[in-house]
Symmetry: C2
Subunit: 121 residues, 2 copies
DNA sequence: TTCTAATTCAACCATATTGTTGAATGTAGT
DNA sequence: ACTACATTCAACAATATGGTTGAATTAGAA
């Protein structure tokens, strides 16, 4: 049950790997925005911004509601939660230093027993 | 203090956006591994795996210790924590539904006050 | 119908990414 | 000096990504 959601994670992390898109998400955290509102802060064509928005949409990070002739986007938090959960799987490694030490020592033992066992004591 | 770490996040999220690399991190969570050990499960050349490892290394997600003639890699948790923190910034959106409702309402008000104020009451 | 606005589509270009293969590097053992 | 091993480097190819511009779409307003 560890890596079943691989394809989702690919698109989610890929979408997050671009500063423009992360910035768009931050704006959307303050409330819904139209495509042109999302595009406005960036020094790029509307078509380019539209592509970024589509990447976010394909990753499931935002949803779009076609309202009148404008497309209103809003944050969809569940993929963020999925990514957050995946990272949380590693939480012990940065919070509980004893845990990582324990793992490293356990691994040392294993390797020592496996390869050469002449140097101990 | 919200988006100061942008360049790091670019490389971190980009590195995480590939299933091969995430899989390598999962193996490294069990203990250190050499380059060839990391490459072994994958149906690709050693050179290709070496490139993946370099991507992880450049993102700071792993560190490498040249031990004898083998390169031993181990997990470096801090960038994972950075990414986790960034995502945690959105935690309210998937845990506390009241919060998101609050935000949306606040935004509604703001927008209503800003554009046309003829429809209220 | 025609005008205008918001957005996408299509074609294109430059660069990045991911993979390949074969040669090069560095180091220990013989 | 030679061999064997672990890894990287270099050159190349295929595909993906991120940007551009100009035309197409869509739908209300005049």
């Amino acid at each position: 049950m560890v890596e079943l959601e691989t394809p989702q994670l690919n698109s989610i992390f890929h979408a997050l790997g671009d500063a423009t898109r992360r910035s768009m998400l931050q704006v959307l955290a303050e409330g819904e925005r139209t495509v042109s509102q999302l595009a406005e802060p960036f020094d790029m064509s509307l078509a380019a911004a539209s592509k970024h928005i589509k990447v976010l949409e394909n990753a499931g990070l935002i949803r779009r509601e076609v309202r009148w002739r404008t497309h209103v986007c809003h944050l969809e938090p569940s993929p963020l939660a999925t990514a957050h959960d995946w990272l949380g799987h590693y939480e012990n490694f940065w919070t509980n230093r004893l845990d990582i030490l324990d793992r490293l020592l356990r691994d040392e033992d294993e390797r020592a027993a496996n390869s050469k066992k002449g140097n101990d004591k």
